[in-house]
Amino acid sequence: MSLKFFAHFLFIFQVYISVFLLIIHLQFHFFEIAFLFYFFAGAKPMAAIFQGVGAAATLSSSPSNSFDSNNSVFSPLTSFSVRRGASFAVVRSDGILNLNPKGRRAQQLISNAVATKADSAASSSSSKPGHELLLFEALQEGLEEEMDRDPRVCVMGEDVGHYGGSYKVTKGLAEKFGDLRVLDTPIAENSFTGMGIGAAMTGLRPVVEGMNMGFLLLAFNQISNNCGMLHYTSGGQFTIPIVIRGPGGVGRQLGAEHSQRLESYFQSIPGIQMVACSTPYNAKGLMKAAIRSENPVILFEHVLLYNLKERIPDEDYICNLEEAEMVRPGEHVTILTYSRMRYHVMQAAKTLVNKGYDPEVIDIRSLKPFDLYTIGNSVKKTHRVLIVEECMRTGGIGASLTAAITENFNDYLDAPIMCLSSQDVPTPYAGTLEEVTVVQPAQIVTAVEQLCQ
């Protein structure tokens, strides 16, 4: 109880500071607000919370020297709070352990700054029932429900078993379903993906986890030559209902090798479907839909989005694998985006609204095939398209999307399609440089202003 009181006290203190900071540092990325807490609200290790920033990213990059601290961190977590406002420990990249006792309050604060939920169809009002959880928990819930529903669903990947997965998406599954259904594999991505394909052909429905999507480059041979092709080359005799999932995208100083955007490499492979989740609602829905699909599906998650919180319905639901999501309807310009860039776009949308623009924001969700129906309707309405993505400029999803829209809706466009993407460089480690490779809200605002002239 005293902890709660202390939490309230600190919360009010931090509200004051944060409002002050918000006004002055409007340009900062919303994740940076949390970072600034650390500096201005006291150098105590308890002050900093990163909504989906530090925890997931640094957990993966903290090697064995923080191994024990990771383990000890999560046991107090479960006793602390079950699902609601789970505060989590942040292990920063320099190894300092931060425990945040008042995470929930501060997280509410962060989510206000993003301002996405007010318009989104999946947003929760207090009148709707449902439960709140974080994105990685939503994925875990979706996976668990499918494993309960269908005994053929199994999970394979590195450290997915008793460790619960590097991002805790498979937490608790090994205890519940046993070692046979949640398989810890040795480190050979090509081979365990191949193993998943073999198991899929004989009737199982494996969910293969890549610890980081970048590691799936090792599995490219199996994904391209076998996963995508075998249904076709066998004349339809063998189906491969496999789901390959994992986190990708630019994290917090994870280095070039762990910041890959593999959707751009995989998009050419015939025979597979690709989807990217961005909210807890669509994460759970897409996970379930992918498992139920008879085609091989690659589900792209993002390292920095795992700790997003949202209220999702209690009942069973799936999201259509080929549908895009209308995040914010508008009139002036269509902004197409997916995964983490959705949040940057929504932040920019706030600024744009203040400046008098009315952007229509669509989270395309389905990367292969594109939902040209939704996109087309939007283009016909607004006549201007801006694509915001995290992929590299050359050969990214944005490049293909530009081509698809130009081919199909050229007559409806009043201006050339603008595509904001990362530069064609490996992602640097230095935080400042890394920030510059990713599209920032300010650039989005400028681009819309340019487009709407």
């Binding site: 594999t185 193993m195 073999g198 199982l204 030559n225 040209l372």
Partner: protein
């Protein structure tokens, strides 16, 4: 086993590299006395009573003078093993995550070749006569005759299709000449529930399971009746009802698939195993190593059959790897292995039969290395006389033919004769020629089969592309083949 040849040096060198005799002679003494006994990798015998259905367990390998090395993978039993070692030194043990290891103040390296030679299991000698004191699984007359007729059919199938390719009637073909015994005998030892993951030189397994000559021809001609709907090259057969997984051209990718399938069979507690075939070249691929490792760790019932035929297109095994063949690699991963004379149908049958029992009952992977020779070219796009002497090929074809060897044995048993031989051969030949004619005349798959089966249902973008293609064909019919239905 006497590998004598008067012909060319290459043969001797190749065989020596496979057998490794010369190297071993120098090293075996040293190796055994120092590293073998004191090392953690201790040689142990597998009690033969655990291998079922073998006759004459007493007269086993002792008399031949070679040891049969195996190592238990379980680290928990290592402690007891070392406790009973007749070891003069009092060695300490170190407890580390993998188990207990015995320490030793003597520095000794594990030799690059195994301390004792890995002998090759053979039951019939070169003239098709049973070697005395051999253990093998008994084969009934019915099975033996079926095996022989399938081997002969496979030979004729290969010859005729090869000629058809040379005549330009099919675009490509891969022969199995020289490896008929591996194909048929291993298939005979399996059951129809066992799932097969082939490389591309194992049509014999399909033949044994009942794939008709017409179905073979249909696939090679890529016509409408092909189960693959004309989407793959010739010899890329596949049949889900015969549990034979569609051949993919990629090397060794099927090996982890087999492990996954075996895992699935284990989860479902089925009385079946997964079987996968690959060549000596395929064992260099990363997939092979990881799959063996996975199979050992997951304790999956899978049989890995390596057709060590001496050549990977033009690369001889001496350029492919430096280990003593493939079977020794199994030991490195904790997989029980055996080396078999691949041209001896009876030995292959026994080995695969025993392997299957062990795989299913004990939930373990087994590696079978079948030593043989690739008599034909790698494929119809290859001329192997460019990198190996023609007389070497001739010698293996004539003197070492597995089909002839097996025929001598069944003839000696009175189960076969020369009239049945000529009857069989001419009948198969006629059937095949007819099948080819029918397949050649049959319709090709229609254009919309280009777009089906990419996904379970055709998505909108593919619908559009199909419409576009149809439109193009209708506008320019002369630019497109007339015999493909639109």
């Amino acid at each position: 086993m006497a590998f004598f040849s008067k012909n060319s040096r290459t043969i001797i060198n190749n065989l020596k590299s496979k057998a490794g005799l010369s190297r071993l002679m120098k090293q075996s003494r040293n190796c055994c006395s120092m590293s073998c006994l004191n090392n953690t990798n201790c040689c142990r015998f597998i009690p033969l009573t655990t291998i079922p259905q073998l006759r004459n367990p007493d007269s086993y390998s002792h008399k031949k003078g070679f040891l049969f090395c195996f190592q238990r993978f379980q680290s928990t039993t290592s402690e007891q093993q070392f406790a009973s070692l007749p070891n003069g030194e009092h060695n300490q043990e170190l407890d580390f995550p993998g188990g207990k290891v015995v320490l030793s103040p003597e520095m000794q390296f594990l030799s690059e070749s195994p301390c004792v030679y890995n002998h090759c299991y053979r039951v019939l000698d070169d003239n098709g006569q049973l070697i005395s004191n051999s253990n093998f699984v008994q084969v009934s007359e019915e099975i033996a005759v079926k095996m022989y007729s399938n081997m002969a059919t496979l030979q004729i199938l290969d010859t005729i299709f090869y000629e058809a390719q040379r005549q330009g009637r099919i675009s490509f073909y891969v022969t199995t000449i020289g490896e008929e015994a591996i194909n048929i005998a291993s298939a005979a030892a399996l059951k129809s529930d066992d799932i097969v993951f082939p490389q591309y030189r194992e049509p014999g397994v399909l033949l044994w399971r009942g794939f008709t000559l017409q179905e073979f021809a249909n696939q090679c001609f890529g016509n409408k009746a092909d189960y693959g709907k004309g989407r793959q090259m010739p010899v890329h057969y596949g049949s889900n009802k015969l549990n034979y997984f569609t051949v993919a051209s990629t090397i060794a990718t099927q090996i982890p698939h087999a492990v996954g399938a075996a895992y699935s069979l284990k989860m479902d507690k089925k009385d079946a195993c997964a079987v996968t075939y690959f060549g000596d070249g395929g064992t260099s691929e990363g997939d092979f190593h990881a799959a063996l490792n996975f199979a050992a760790v997951t304790e999956s019932p899978v049989i890995f059959i390596c057709r060590n035929n001496g050549w990977a297109i033009s690369t001889p095994t001496s350029d492919q790897f430096r280990s003593e063949g493939i079977a020794v690699r199994g030991q490195a991963y904790g997989v029980r292995s055996i080396r078999v004379d691949g041209n001896d149908a009876l030995a292959m049958y026994s080995a695969v039969h025993a392997a299957r029992e062990m795989a299913i009952n004990e939930h373990r992977p087994i590696l079978v290395e079948a030593v043989t020779y690739r008599v034909g070219h790698h494929s119809t796009s290859d001329d192997s006389t460019k990198y190996r002497p023609a007389d070497e090929i001739e010698w293996w074809k004539m003197a070492r033919d597995p089909v002839t060897r097996f025929r001598k044995w069944i003839e000696a048993n009175g189960w076969w004769g020369s009239e049945t031989e000529s009857q069989l051969r001419s009948s198969i030949r006629n059937q095949l020629l007819q099948a080819i004619q029918i397949a050649e005349r049959a319709e090709k798959p229609p254009v919309n089969d280009l777009f089906t089966d990419v996904y379970d249902n055709i998505p909108s973008n593919l619908h559009e592309q199909e419409k576009w293609l149809r439109g193009t064909i209708n506008r320019h019919p002369k630019d497109y083949p007339a015999d493909v239905p639109v």
